[in-house]
């Protein structure tokens, strides 16, 4: 049986190993991913992001439990769920402690749930690329819902949010992260806002701040830059990001959150936005790949030391970075003369 056939047949070990190959960007894995690609495009991809310790994993645990326990549902009708939990790598050792499973122990033993932990590995753009690959593989083998947990509010999270159809931003009272969230522009990527730890003093305040900020932001809110307002408004269904309070440890607010996630999926499907987002998502993935490939190809074609030589000239301010790259691209030796002449 071919690997793809094995995967579609539910060989979980082969699948888990494929995810490792994708994460490591090994050629065998990437080739297999290409073979799987025609089977992607069905899953609902949901990003869950927010500052450290806001309760994302606890929330995901409860949410998945809820989604898997829809009353009266037969096993075959229940949606299968994959969780991708991303934690930062240590900048010092390159290692990582991936601890999100601690809070997801209730999900153990459910064959309809698959959890995979990933380290950010610090590479610029690399995480988004690896996550996108892992998510595609999960999608291809048939998971109905894929939840991606990421920490923080930096560029990496925004990039990951772009791989999601629905982005849930989690905050908690008393962490000052309502301000942080606004600063980092994370509100702009939020389709659903959650104030978790609503049992803690100060939750009302956090809820109020978020609601007010959203209201103030909305008239000028161009969304993600790829939300084509006119088109969406023409459909008569502008999405208003709801703000929900939850107590993940007790399961409070979880059914509401689950409902809002499903409602957002319907919203995307009913409006033209699903297509718009898919198009934008795939475009940015292709552009990223193109950039990587062109860079790699360019580098291998350079004679040894040529780039370093150019770098040196930029360091000594004989050339600007732009001039250096232009010269390298043109493959001219003229730049030698030029920069020599300036002395």
């Amino acid at each position: 049986m071919s690997l793809v056939a094995k995967l579609m047949d539910g060989d979980r070990l082969a699948f888990a190993r494929l995810l490792t190959q994708i994460e490591n960007e090994e050629l065998v894995g990437l080739d297999c991913l290409s073979d799987l690609y025609p089977h992607t495009g069905r899953a609902h991809i949901v990003g869950v992001t927010g500052a450290p310790g806001t309760g994302k994993s606890t929330l995901v645990n409860r949410l998945v439990l809820h989604m898997r326990s829809v009353e009266g549902g037969k096993e075959a009708e229940r949606e299968t769920i994959a969780v991708v939990a991303v934690d930062p790598s240590s900048p010092f050792s390159g290692g990582a402690i991936l601890g999100d499973r601690i809070r997801m122990r209730d999900l153990a033993g459910d064959p309809g749930v698959f959890i995979r932990s990933m380290a950010s590995r610090g590479a610029l753009g690399g995480l988004a690329r690896a996550t996108a690959g892992v998510v595609q593989a999960l999608d291809a083998v048939g998971f109905d819902i894929i939840l991606i947990e990421t920490v923080g509010a930096g560029q990496a999270e925004v990039d990951i949010a772009r791989t999601a159809h629905t982005t849930v931003v989690v905050s908690a009272p008393g962490m000052g992260d309502e301000v942080q969230a606004i600063k980092a522009g994370i509100l702009e990527i939020a389709d659903i806002l959650v104030v978790n730890k609503a049992d803690i003093h100060g939750a009302d305040n956090t809820l109020r701040v978020l609601r007010t900020t959203l209201q103030m932001a909305r008239p000028t809110r161009e969304g993600r830059g790829y939300l084509i307002r006119d088109e969406v408004e023409a459909d008569g269904v502008m999405w208003d990001p709801p703000v929900l309070a939850t107590v993940a440890t007790q399961g409070e607010g979880i059914p509401e959150l689950s409902r809002e996630i499903a409602r957002h999926r319907s919203h995307l499907r009913d409006s033209s936005e699903w297509r718009v987002r898919e198009g934008e998502r795939i475009r940015s993935e292709m552009e990223l790949l193109l950039r990587d490939h062109l860079t790699a190809r360019f580098m291998t074609r350079q004679p040894d030391g040529r780039f370093e030589e150019a770098l040196e000239r930029v360091l000594t301010r004989k050339l600007s970075p732009r001039q250096a790259i232009t010269a390298l691209l043109e493959g001219e030796d003229e730049w030698h003369a030029k920069s020599e002449g300036k002395k």
Binding site: S93, G95, L98, R105, I115
Partner: protein
């Protein structure tokens, strides 16, 4: 662009309730550049084998203080084998009586660390066990 990282699962099976040792080992392994999936307390053999599979780890480190090692370890090894994960190295730390050690090794436990083993020794043993394990085609 490609990069392999050693992936390790650290779990604390059994019912005794403190995981300080497991956490120290997890940190030491991280500081040695490994990706450590930490699953916490009260893990059943089923949970451990399943997590090892989903996470595709190279090694599993178990901290057992409860004295239940002769009940827990054979089951973990059996499940790993059943799932085709016989190349995953199983390492054990905790209070294991000397007389049980030969049997555990025979069953396939790659290394056993008694109380007071330095983290350096443990990290080294993980690196060696994974390097020495059957390679994956």
């Amino acid at each position: 662009m490609t990069g392999k990282k050693l992936r390790v699962l650290i779990a604390k099976p059994g019912l005794d309730g403190h995981d300080r040792g497991a956490k120290i080992v997890a940190r030491a392994l991280r500081d040695a550049g490994m990706e450590v999936i930490y699953t916490g307390l009260r893990q059943t053999p089923e949970m451990i084998a399943e997590a090892a599979l989903q996470e595709d780890v190279d090694a599993v480190g178990l901290s057992i203080l409860s004295g239940a090692h002769m009940a827990l370890l054979p089951r973990v090894l059996e499940l790993l084998h059943q799932q085709g994960q016989q190349d995953v190295q199983v390492m054990v730390g905790g209070i294991i009586p000397d007389e049980d050690i030969p049997r555990l090794k025979e069953m396939g436990v790659a290394a056993i660390f008694g109380p007071g083993t330095s983290t350096q020794t443990i990290v080294q043993a993980f690196i060696e066990a994974v390097g020495a394990g059957p390679s994956r085609g």
